[in-house]
Symmetry: C2
Subunit: 245 residues, 2 copies
């Protein structure tokens, strides 16, 4: 079948892509997050269409379109969000430098306010402010982190992260779709896709929780629950819609 050829070229492409992103340091966390997310919506979309159309080709075409759209929205979105975050940090940094330069007394009051919240008395507040204001750079660093809660974003990391999540989303999304390449009807495809995806959702949910520091078993069940609920709802709604269209 021609499907098999397409699938194997796709997998080769992805295999090569993995080498391509390796030198720019793909983060394990991003791979797991991208794959776990990639499984969810393409699986649910394919499941939804399986209840409504008669041809695997349509399910596959829609699934591929979703994977392309989703990975670009995620990858490009992440890249642009990273740039926005850096611009925001830079403009706040400039503003703090200006304020420390032009209205130091107001900035000193802001430092004292932070410490008064924790029961530090006025005398000590004044000592802290005096020492902190000796070094303008450290003072601004302090204000950025403790007044504004901002840390300098690592833009290269953010872009890498976006690219890795995007590519992992593609790999994750091809797992539920692969079932439709090897079966004859959407119904058969759905059965195998559901079996395959539930196992993968559980495994990726497990590792996703492990790398993000959550209880892994509970996390695995959460990720599986989201995927299954989304797929069941998409199936029912698409079936209902299709019967009236």
């Amino acid at each position: 079948m021609i499907y098999k050829n397409i699938l194997s070229s796709l997998l080769s492409f992805l295999f090569i892509s993995t080498f391509f992103i390796q030198p720019v340091q793909a983060n394990k966390t991003d791979i797991v997050i991208g794959m776990a997310d990639g499984l969810t919506v393409p699986f649910a979309l394919a499941a939804g269409l399986s209840g409504a159309v008669q041809s695997n080709a349509i399910v596959i075409t829609a699934g591929i379109a979703e994977i392309v759209a989703g990975s670009i929205a995620m990858g490009l979105g992440g890249y642009l969000a990273g740039k926005t975050e850096q611009e925001h940090f830079q403009s706040e940094l400039n503003r703090e430098y200006e304020e420390v330069e032009n209205i130091p007394e107001k900035e000193k009051e802001e430092v004292k306010l932070i410490f008064s919240q924790y029961g530090i008395n006025e005398r000590t507040q004044n000592i802290i402010v005096d020492e902190l204001s000796n070094d303008k750079h450290k003072w601004v660093d302090f204000m950025m982190k403790y007044e504004l809660g901002l840390e300098e974003p690592d833009v290269n990391r953010a872009m890498n992260s976006a690219a890795t999540i995007g590519i992992s989303y593609i790999v994750g999304g091809l797992i539920p779709l692969s079932a439709y390449f090897f079966t004859r009807t959407p119904f058969q495809g759905l059965l195998i896709s559901a079996l395959l995806t539930v196992i993968c959702l559980f495994l990726f949910g497990y590792f996703k929780s492990k790398v993000t520091g959550q209880p892994p078993l509970k996390g695995a069940m959460k990720v599986t629950l989201i995927g299954v609920t989304a797929a069941a709802a998409a199936f029912l709604v698409a079936k209902a819609f299709n019967s009236v269209l």
Copy 2:
């Protein structure tokens, strides 16, 4: 046409939903973010399928399935992420209380370390530690915020936010799809959908940037760029795929 009836019932449903979520305080930011995101992938998916299938009904069914799947993944995902975040905060809080109780000297060193980074001398560090450790609750609050960078998550807000983003995603997603209800062929649908969606992407991108404090015109162009790129890529890939399937 029956499409029009379906669309008007859907819009009535959403209109009523809006009242339903109003009492639980829907945040304007969440509405704008959900709608801006909702426009992107459903638009791109519908565009992708328009290049590959001959029937508006298939485009609509796939679009509806994606909107259902995407909004549930987003809403339920946001809800569960909110709960996870709260559990994480609570377990870190308990750990800090235990540490302050059982290894206060080590915790005092950690406080001093924070201040030494900003050029505060040892004498002052000791004064701060002495005052801070007078009140255990304030000490723990300080460690949570300044050592761990954690703030108590507002779970109700997180859940509300997830629900609002999910529902707004549905409303946003129906905008590009609506064009396929009123046209005869996917190609006509695509033209009107693209026109309608580009205008909406720009508008929602503008308001999204405004409510998140970014330069609105630049933000509007970014959101539009993501949507158009995703749609163009989905269109080309789905067309290429469909020609070999």
